[in-house]
């Protein structure tokens, strides 16, 4: 599913950036909250240091359950989430990608794979 493709401009401290309870993730929006495709997330994961990945992972993982409790109060319709919720969802999709590096591989790239690696073309149906 692709979400709102419009670039959202934001000011730090703006209360509407993320839903209430998720403000602790605001500083991660710029790097992890504006990625709209699996390919973009995959490239960002590979291009990041383990420190950057770990920082985001540590902040976002404890909020995973809470994030979906909140997001699933909204109807599951493509491109229909309010901006703050859509941003939160994108952060969580980034966490799905980042967790491959943190939980699975212990490194940003898939082992033995040259950087940058272009992901296989993906089609969802």
């Amino acid at each position: 599913m692709t979400i709102n493709m419009k670039k959202n401009f934001f000011e730090p401290g703006d209360e509407s950036l993320l839903p209430a309870g998720f403000q602790s993730l605001e500083s991660f929006i710029e790097k992890w909250g504006e990625l709209y495709t699996a390919d973009a997330r995959y490239i960002m994961r590979q291009s990041s240091t383990m420190e950057e990945l770990q920082l985001f992972y540590t902040a976002a993982t404890p909020l995973l359950e809470q994030a979906f409790e909140h997001l699933d109060t909204f109807e599951f319709v493509e491109n229909e989430l309010p901006l703050a919720q859509a941003r939160l969802l994108r952060l969580m999709y980034s966490l799905a990608e980042v967790s491959q590096a943190i939980e699975i591989f212990g490194q940003p790239t898939v082992p033995h794979t040259p950087f940058p690696h272009k992901a296989p073309a993906m089609e969802i149906f």
Binding site: M1, T61, L89, S99, E103, P111, E123
Partner: protein, 412 residues
């Protein structure tokens, strides 16, 4: 576990020698030689039934699928005509060979060549030629799109480069076709596909997907804990069934495995019981696994039947979904790999969508682990130093596949 008991346990797995597959290596030139590549295209791919697509994608009249078949050096269109007949054609205009269909899937009531506007109907017949008076030498009925043989099995569309193949699809599939006939696959409509061009010989990827020996090593961070069990630490395949030129094995999964890291645990708790490839996992359906042809030896912790349809299609039949890998030769050192995973459910909440995003990322990474290895292998062969690639007794499928290919290529 002492050495003796571990050997006893491992003995229950069949070995290559049990099937008289004595040749324990493949010459490296099989992966580099232009002559062998040509022979594979001519003697194998142009003389085999090739899986091109699924009837699911052609349910309506006038729907079509276009697909590039690299070893045939051809673009092929399959059309369900306005008469409900399904036919396969080469995607070449009869005028001067320009492709009449641009790509992908779709619906069209006719096909117009973009160059000079020749028009074909959905039965492949040439219907319109602008300034037709200038083609007094053209007999329209003879200049429809050139046809390929087509037949179907289990909802899969197969084509054959020869207009009159030496064997029918049923004959070609033989025992395998009979064992797996009437698979209940119609309702598996959701999922995702991956397509990538890789700088390696196509057989390297076939090899990677037909043995379990590499799982605990290459996939030590990904598949190892999910597949290796204490009594099968090297992930030997169960019950190899050779149905020349095709072959099938049953694979087990480590049902004792459970994720421990928080994001993976969260995703899998939503996405899937650990033993499924389902994109959301909600399905409780076990229809595929209970088909009489599947898992005939009744492996308890069943993961999949891995069905290799010669030469280049692998069907993985799982508990509640299926997967197709296709391995297409493009050049001795280039291939296209296509993977499609099917489930009978799709996300209905953001939580489930997250799980699907997670599963697609982790599935991609496992395929990347294999493709990266194959590319490294291909690179190593460039020096010419390596002359032989060795295949163990536990890699019986690789020996069989090499033998079958060699039979087709060296017809003597």
């Amino acid at each position: 576990m002492n050495k003796q008991s571990s050997q006893e346990k491992i003995k229950r797995f069949p070995k290559a020698r049990d099937f008289n597959l004595a040749k324990g290596y493949v010459e490296a030139e099989n992966y580099t030689s232009a002559e062998i590549f040509e022979a594979e295209c001519e003697e194998v791919f142009k003389k085999s039934w090739l899986l091109l697509g699924e009837l699911k994608d052609l349910s309506e009249k006038n729907s079509y699928i276009q697909k590039q078949l690299p070893p045939l050096r051809a673009s092929v269109i399959v059309i369900r005509g306005d008469d409900d007949e399904i036919r396969a054609f080469y995607n070449h205009c009869s005028h001067r060979a320009v492709p009449v269909v641009d790509g992908g899937k779709g619906k069209a009531s006719s096909f117009r060549c973009p160059y000079h506007g020749w028009v074909y109907n959905t039965r492949g017949e040439l219907r319109g030629v602008p300034c037709e008076d200038d083609f007094p030498h053209l007999n329209k009925p003879e200049h429809g799109l050139a046809q390929l043989a087509l037949d179907t099995w289990n909802g899969f569309i197969f084509v054959h480069a020869e207009t009159e193949p030496a064997e029918t699809l049923a004959e070609f599939l033989g025992e395998l076709g009979a064992a797996y006939d009437d698979l209940p696959l119609e309702k598996y409509l959701h999922g995702f596909s991956l397509k990538q061009t890789l700088d390696c010989n196509w057989k390297f990827m076939v090899n990677a997907f037909t043995e379990g020996y590499h799982l605990p090593f290459l996939h030590n961070k990904t598949l190892k804990t999910q597949t290796a069990t204490t009594d099968n630490p090297h992930v030997h395949y169960h019950d190899p069934r050779f149905m020349p030129p095709h072959f099938v094995s049953t694979l087990e999964r480590n049902y004792a495995w459970a994720p421990s890291d928080p994001v993976q645990s969260f995703a899998l708790s939503v996405a899937s019981p650990a033993h499924s490839h389902s994109t959301t996992g909600k399905s409780e359906s076990r229809e595929i696994a209970t088909h009489p042809g599947v898992n005939p030896s009744k492996v308890e912790n069943f993961m999949m039947d891995q069905v290799m349809i010669f030469p280049n299609t692998q069907l993985q039949l799982m508990l509640n979904g299926y997967l197709i890998h296709q391995f297409w030769p493009v050049a001795p050192d280039k291939m296209v790999m296509e993977t499609t995973i099917y489930s009978d459910t799709k996300p209905t909440s953001y939580r489930e969508e997250f799980a699907a995003v997670y599963m697609r990322a982790s599935g991609r990474d496992v395929v990347v682990e294999d493709s990266s290895m194959s590319i490294l292998q291909q690179n190593s062969l460039k020096s010419g130093v390596v002359k032989k690639l060795y295949i163990g007794e536990n890699e019986q499928n690789l020996r069989f596949f090499a033998q079958q290919l060699s039979k087709k290529i060296n017809k003597s």
